[in-house]
């Protein structure tokens, strides 16, 4: 009996291991991926086919247009001749305009022998931003970052070297005064840190700069800001407004969350009024009205007025974003800071703001991207941003009637800048998140 049993069992027991086999065709490689991602149900399959058709339709329209041997041509009529000569339709791009006018699109009417100045300025700007944006660079580099704005001003606008230098000296004086007096009394130190540089700027900078320019005329050729234009103008306005509006926005947010009645109400009124009205109306206000509110005789540069307006505008938006961040910090954190005996500024600086700002990074970067895109609106008040230059280019007889090539070029430039900012924000988020765990 037992014999037959073992026989039966041994009949079913496999003595050799089966060789490892590949999964069936439908469960591996490209086929599996296709089945799971593209054809998992009939609706999905339909969607796939429809979107493939859409992609083909768009590409078949665009690619022949883009692929056009017109890089070296000097005018639109030449382009048309060459394209008809090749037996192709005239529905093709004429890239000669980019080769012909790319400098104008980038720099506007900036003198062409000074193109190295904005280029160098961009390099210095990136180098100066690096230690702020990426924490892995040595701290002493931050000093370089602090000096960057003055170098940039000098490079872009030119003029004698002494004025930006003295403005910088004023700031250093303020820091020195603060360091010197902070041991005595904090409020006095803060006041001195504000008053000393202001007095210095108001009364001493001009005569000293004049004397120094007279004795040692070192500097670059002055270039008025009406010569600024193109993508450079967008970057100048965008970067200046971004750097200025972040601290202003944070202050406004703190003001709105503060316990002081007047401060709160003033912040609320400011933020709501700025946010309730389109930027374009504010820009017109800047170009038409700002002089009403200034003492008679002072006249601002239009670019400067625009920078101020754009800064105020985005500061209001950043204030709202940061307010969201402040509200998201648990109340226990505020109370914890209070119970440790920290002063208001200390608790904000050390405990609340780091957490709030971390939460509001996506919103802040979003605002910056919007701000950078909105710099194109300055075309309406007569500044020559890239879009304004397209009509200037179209006004020449060579390029009358050219639209798409210029729009594509500008669009690609903006896309690179804004997409880069978006990626940076994602990178920063993941980096800060990992440190938190």
């Amino acid at each position: 009996m037992s014999d037959t049993d073992s026989e039966v069992i041994s009949f079913f027991v496999r003595e050799k291991m089966l060789e490892e086999q590949e999964p069936p065709l439908t469960e591996r490689g490209a086929v599996k991926w296709l089945r799971e991602n593209l054809f998992s149900s009939w609706l999905n399959g339909l969607l796939t086919i429809v979107s493939l058709y859409v992609i083909w339709y768009i590409l078949s329209g665009i690619v022949p247009w883009l692929w056009s041997p017109t890089w070296s041509l000097g005018s639109l009529s030449e382009c048309r001749e060459v394209l008809t000569g090749l037996g192709e339709t005239t529905h093709q791009a004429c890239w000669g305009v980019i080769r012909d006018r790319w400098q104008q699109l980038l720099f506007g009417f900036y003198p062409s022998d000074a193109y190295w100045r904005p280029t160098l300025a961009l390099v210095i700007l990136l180098a100066g931003l690096a230690p702020v944006l990426f924490g892995s660079i040595p701290r002493w580099f931050l000093l370089f970052s602090a000096a960057t704005p003055f170098v940039l001003f000098l490079l872009l606008w030119g003029g004698p070297i002494w004025t930006p230098l003295l403005v910088g000296v004023g700031l250093v004086l303020g820091v020195v005064a603060f360091r010197y007096l902070v041991g005595v009394n904090q409020i006095v130190a803060v006041l001195a840190a504000i008053i000393v540089p202001v007095l210095f700027w108001l009364f001493l900078v001009e005569p000293i700069a004049f004397e120094l320019t007279y004795t040692a005329p070192i500097g670059l050729e002055f270039i008025p800001s009406k010569d600024f234009g193109g993508f450079m103008l967008s970057v100048v306005i965008g970067v200046a407004a971004i750097i200025l509006s972040l601290p202003l926005g944070i202050m406004l947010a703190l003001g709105r969350a503060s316990d002081l009645f007047i401060v709160t109400k003033l912040s609320v009124i400011f933020i709501e009024i700025i946010r309730g009205v389109p930027l374009i109306v504010w820009l017109f206000t800047a170009s038409l009205l700002l002089n009403y509110f200034l003492p008679p005789g002072t006249s601002f540069d239009l670019t400067l007025r625009v920078i101020i307006m754009v800064t105020l505008f985005s500061a209001a938006y950043i204030a709202e974003v940061v307010r969201g961040g402040l509200a998201a910090v648990p109340k226990g954190q505020y109370e914890g800071a209070d119970s440790l005996g920290l002063s208001y500024w200390q608790s904000m600086q050390l405990i609340v703001l780091p957490q709030a700002l971390k939460i509001s990074i996506p919103g802040i970067v979003n605002t910056f991207i919007g701000l950078f895109k909105d710099t194109t609106l300055v075309v309406f008040i007569g500044l020559l941003d890239p879009l304004g230059l397209t009509s200037a280019i179209r006004a020449s007889t060579d390029w009358n009637g050219i639209y798409w090539e210029l729009y594509v070029f500008i669009g690609v430039l903006f896309f690179i800048a804004c997409y880069g900012m978006g990626r940076y924000s994602l990178w920063l988020e993941t980096k800060l998140q990992r440190e938190n765990r």
């Binding site: 991602n37 998992s40 979107s51 009205v277 389109p278 374009i280 109306v281 895109k373 194109t376």
Partner: protein
């Protein structure tokens, strides 16, 4: 309106399991979000004015062909604007309108009745099709009974341009398309974030209760996602209303051009005009945010 529809469809599609659809929507969103709106407006305007046929291209040549043709013989897209049929109001049109309004009210009444039946007895009456039928059928019936009181005036080529019909000017079309596509890209992301914010446990729980995917979406996920979606949506609508001031780029006479342009030039009172303009936009924004706040409060989580 188009922006909302685009945005909701886009948001759902971006979460689709379909790889190509997902990537396609990502390209749409990134493309519109990272390029200035102004560029899109002028580009679409250039497309409308340069890329579309002139009215004379619609003329049928002697060999019986035309360079361009009208869609359904009713719509003509030209570089002078889009021509669509215009309604002609006949004598009995008022009755027809009244019946249409009444039947829409009827559809809503039916919906609330079906809901009541559902809550009282647990019996599920079909919702969508009867409501649609109630809303549409009486109007169509009456349309023929009353002897077609509303006719259509088709645009026709006459002289050098189209005669009849309604002309929608190109600046308006360009502005509308660009604003819708641009805002749609943003709303897509908002909707995506909203749907992602509903935790997976919710949909799993509703599947465990035996709900079908359609009903899970409608009864469980969307109501919760809506709470997250509404506040950023409000700010998108506010942005949209403010961005409409970009009409200046294509020369459409919006309030900025009339109040901030014509009035200002005629009177020379810059301060007053800018103040009025500011107040107008401020008022508009406040009204929109007020309405959206009411809507938000009605959808908000009812806490103790």
């Amino acid at each position: 309106m188009l922006a909302t529809i685009l945005g909701v469809i886009g948001g759902v599609l971006r979460l689709s399991k379909n790889w190509i659809v997902r990537k396609l929507m990502a390209v749409y969103v990134e493309g519109f979000r990272n390029v200035p709106l102004l560029l899109w407006i002028v580009a679409i305007y250039a497309l409308m004015t340069e890329g579309t046929p002139q009215p004379r291209d619609f003329r049928v040549a002697e060999d019986g062909t035309a360079a361009a043709s009208m869609i359904f013989d009713a719509f003509a897209i030209t570089n002078r604007g889009v021509y669509i049929p215009a309604p002609v109001w006949g004598p009995n049109a008022v009755f027809l309108l009244a019946i249409f309004v009444l039947s829409i009210v009827g559809a809503f009444v039916y919906r609330s009745y079906a809901k009541k039946v559902l809550f009282d007895t647990g019996r599920l009456l079909p919702m969508v099709w009867p409501a649609l039928l109630i809303a549409i059928v009486p109007t169509i019936l009456m349309y023929f009974i009353l002897g077609r009181p509303i006719g259509l005036d088709y645009p026709e080529l006459g002289g050098f341009n189209f005669q009849g019909g309604t002309q929608i000017s190109n600046p308006l079309t360009a502005l509308w398309l660009a604003l819708s596509l641009y805002t749609g890209a943003f709303i897509t992301e908002i909707v995506r974030a909203g749907i992602l914010s509903v935790s997976k446990g919710q949909s799993e729980a509703s599947f465990a209760l035996g709900m079908r995917p359609n009903r899970t979406m409608n009864l469980v996920i969307l109501p919760q996602a809506l709470r997250v979606i509404i506040p950023p949506m409000t700010s998108q609508y506010l942005n949209l209303s403010k961005n409409s001031s970009l009409a200046i780029a294509v020369g459409y006479p919006d309030v900025r051009a009339t109040l901030g342009g014509i009035t200002l030039n005629q009177t020379g009172r810059a301060l007053e005009c800018m103040l009025l303009l500011g107040l107008f936009y401020l008022g508009l924004s406040l009204i929109i945010s007020f309405l959206m706040n009411i809507y938000n409060n009605s959808k908000k989580l009812q806490e103790r």
